[in-house]
C-alpha cells in the first residue's frame, strides 16, 4: 500500500477495499459493522435520540487529541445531553489526496479507543478522497443514535428559577489549545484540550437525579454562549459569580495576553447542567467522583428577573452583563 491517500483510494476499486480493510475494518470491529449498503440493528426499547456533526478542525492533531477523538466525543456528548445512551454511530471521511495513511490510521485508532470508552459501536462508514486543496487534510462527519434513559427529559427550555448551574470542569481549554497549536501567535503555554466522551458521568448523574432540567455541551462559543442560549430558550435570568468559574491558569494566561474571555472559548469535554437547587450538591459529588468531571463546580443560579440576560458579579463586586457572544474570535490589541 502507498503511504499516502491517493485519488485511487476513493475510486471504489481494489485500493478502496484495501484502505477500508487495513485502516477502517481493523479498528471498527463489531457485530454490526457492515460491508452491505446499510447496517441492520436491533430496535432499542426506549425513545431514541439522533444527531449529526461535522468536524473540520485545523490542525488535525493537537495537544491531548486529534480530529478523530473529537468526532466521537462531539456526537457522544450531544446524545448524552439528551440523556441518551450512545448506541450506534456512523462516520463519513473526506480526505485530501496526499494525506499520510499512518496519520489517518492514528485518527481512526483514537476513534476506536474513544468509542470503546462509552460502548458506542461504529456500524457504518464512508470514505471520499478529494483533490489537493479541496479539503483541508481530513474532514469527518459522525452521526449517532442513542437510547434515552427512562424518566429523563432534558431540554434547553426547561431551566427554572432556583436551578443551580453546574459546569463539569474548567472552561475554555479546547479553544485555547487550538489557538496555540495554530502557532499564529508565538505564545507557548502548557494547555491540553479537555476533549472527552462524557456519557459515563452523565449516566451516573441521571441515574441518581433524573430530574436534571438541562444538559448542554459547551462547544463552539463556549460556556458563555450556552448560558445565553438557555436564558433565551427558557426565558429566565442567569446570575454568575466570576470567582466561581473554574479556569486553568494556563488558559487564563493565554486569554490575558490575547484579550479573550475564557467563557467564550470552545470546550469539547465540558457540560453545563441546570439542576434543581436542592439537588446541586448531590450532582456535584457524583460528578467529582467520575473520570473527566472531577473539576465540576457550581457557577451560578437561575432567576426570574433579568429574563434573557446573563448577569455576572465581577472581581470588584459589581454586577454587570456578560457581553453576548458573536462574531469571529479576534484577539484585541490593547
Amino acid at each position: 500500500m502507498t503511504d499516502v491517500v491517493t485519488l485511487a483510494h476513493g475510486a471504489g476499486g481494489k485500493q478502496t477495499s484495501e484502505l477500508i480493510e487495513k485502516v477502517f475494518k481493523k479498528h471498527f470491529q463489531n457485530d454490526f459493522f457492515t460491508a452491505d449498503d446499510a447496517s441492520v440493528l436491533p430496535r432499542p426499547q426506549g425513545k431514541i435520540a439522533m444527531t449529526t456533526d461535522g468536524f473540520i478542525v485545523s490542525p488535525q492533531f493537537f495537544q491531548g487529541g486529534n480530529i478523530g477523538k473529537l468526532s466521537i466525543c462531539g456526537t457522544v456528548n450531544d446524545l448524552s445531553c439528551m440523556g441518551a445512551k450512545p448506541l450506534y454511530m456512523t462516520c463519513a471521511f473526506q480526505i485530501e489526496e496526499g494525506f499520510p495513511i499512518d496519520q489517518l490510521e492514528e485518527i481512526v485508532a483514537s476513534m476506536e479507543k474513544t468509542a470503546a470508552e462509552v460502548g458506542v459501536k461504529l456500524v457504518a462508514g464512508d470514505t471520499k478522497v478529494a483533490g489537493r486543496g479541496q479539503v483541508d487534510h481530513v474532514f469527518i462527519t459522525t452521526t449517532g443514535v442513542g437510547e434515552i434513559l427512562d424518566g429523563v427529559d432534558t431540554s434547553g427550555a426547561y431551566a427554572k428559577p432556583g436551578d443551580a448551574i453546574i459546569v463539569t470542569g474548567d472552561v475554555g481549554r479546547h479553544g485555547a489549545t487550538i489557538l496555540l497549536s495554530r502557532d499564529d501567535y508565538g505564545i507557548e503555554a502548557d494547555v491540553t484540550t479537555d476533549c472527552a466522551p462524557l456519557w459515563n458521568p452523565v449516566e451516573a448523574v441521571l441515574t441518581a437525579v433524573p430530574e436534571v432540567h438541562v444538559i448542554r455541551d459547551a462547544t463552539r462559543g463556549g460556556v458563555g454562549t450556552v448560558l445565553y442560549e438557555i436564558a433565551h430558550e427558557s426565558n429566565v435570568g442567569i446570575r454568575l459569580n466570576s470567582e466561581d468559574i473554574p479556569v486553568n491558569p494556563g488558559v487564563r494566561g493565554v486569554c490575558g495576553m490575547l484579550g479573550l474571555e475564557p467563557l467564550y472559548l470552545a470546550c469539547e469535554g465540558r457540560l453545563v447542567m441546570f439542576v434543581p437547587g436542592e439537588k446541586a450538591q448531590e450532582v456535584i459529588e457524583i460528578l467529582r467522583g467520575q473520570k473527566y468531571t472531577e473539576g465540576a463546580a457550581i457557577i451560578g443560579h437561575v432567576t426570574e428577573d433579568m429574563a434573557g440576560h446573563v448577569v455576572m458579579t465581577t472581581d470588584i463586586g459589581a454586577e454587570t452583563l456578560l457581553p453576548e457572544p458573536g462574531n469571529e474570535l479576534l484577539p484585541r490589541i490593547c
Binding site: 433579568m306 440576560h309 470588584i316 463586586g317 459589581a318 479576534l330
Partner: protein, 361 residues
Amino acid sequence: MAEDLKKEDGLAKARRILQNYDGPKVRIMEVCGTHTHEIFRQGVRRVLSPQIEMISGPGCPVCVTAVTFIDEAISLALDHGCTITTFGDLVRVPGTKKSLQIARGEGANVKVVYTPLDAVAYAKDHPQEEVVFLAVGFETTTPSECLAVEKAMEEGLTNFSLLTANKTMPAAYEAMKDATDLYLYPGHVHAIIGNKICEDMLQEGVSGVVGGFTGKEILTALAVGVTEFQKGKPFFKNCYPRVVTGEGSPQAMELVDKMMEPCDQEWRGIGLLKNSGMQLRGEYAAYDARKKFDLSGIIGKPNPACRCGQVLQGAIKPHECPCFGTACTPEHPVGACMVSSEGACSAWYLYGDLANKPLNK
C-alpha cells in the same frame, strides 16, 4: 489617602468612596483601550455615584484608526498583492467601502499576528510574499514595531515593511482636555514615557491620576481622583508607582527616536492633529510601505452620517447618531465604536439602557 487605599480593605474602601461621592459633578476620561475594556468588563460604572461620569476617550488604537489607513491596507492587499499582517481587531474596522475582513473574502491575504516580530518571522518563512505589518498603537506598541524593523534589517529581509499609523498619547491629552475634568492616565504608557507629560498637563491646569489595569487598581485611582478633585485645585497623582517611574523607559524611547520622527496624523472622528503621529525616518524608507508602494491618491471618505467622533468625545450618546442600529450594527459596523464589544456604540446596541442601569428587575 493613596497609602490608605493600598491596605487590605482597599477595594471596599475605594468602592465606598466612589459610591458615596457627593462632591461637585466630575467627568473622568480614560484614554486607553485597555482601561475602557476593563472598566466595561468589571462593571466599574455601576459602582459610581451619579455625580461621577466616565467618558471613554480616544485611546483605543482601533477606534481612532483613520478610514484612509484601512483603505491603504486594503489597496496593499488587493492591488499590490501584499500579505497583510495585523493585530486582530483591526480586521473588522471599516474603510471607505469595506473592512479587511471583507477584503479577505475577496482574496486579500490577511494574517492575524500577536506581535510585530511574528510578522517578521512570517516574512522570513515566506520570501516570495511581500509582507506588510499594520503599525497602529501608542507608546506601548511603537517600540516593538521599531524592533521588528531592526530585526528585519538584521535578517537582511527585503520583503517586510510597516504601514504606519502610530500615534502619541500626549497629543490625545492635549486634544481632549476640554472634554474632561480629570484624566485616568494609562499606567503602561507612562511606564514607557514617564510622568513628565502629566506634570506638564498639570501646569496647564489639567488634573489626572495614573492607574493600573486590574479592577482594584482602577477603583483605587478613581477614588484618589475624586477625593483630590473635591479639594478644588488641579492635581496629579501616580497611583501605579510599582510600575510607573518618573523617567519611564529610556531604552524604548531611544529606539523609537532613532528610527521614527513625529508627523501629522489623522484620528478617526477627531481629524488631523499636528505632530500627533510617528513615521519611519528617511533612512528606513525601504521598510516604509507608503514609500515602497505607491499609495498616493488614496483618501478615505468616512461615512458622513457616522458620528463616532462626537461619541468618542462624549458629546452625544450612541443612539443619537443617525446610523445607530440601522446602518451601523455590531455585525456591520460603520464606525469604529461599533467594532469591539467595549466600544460605546456596541455596548449601547447590545444592552440599551441596561448598559448603565442597576440589574435587578
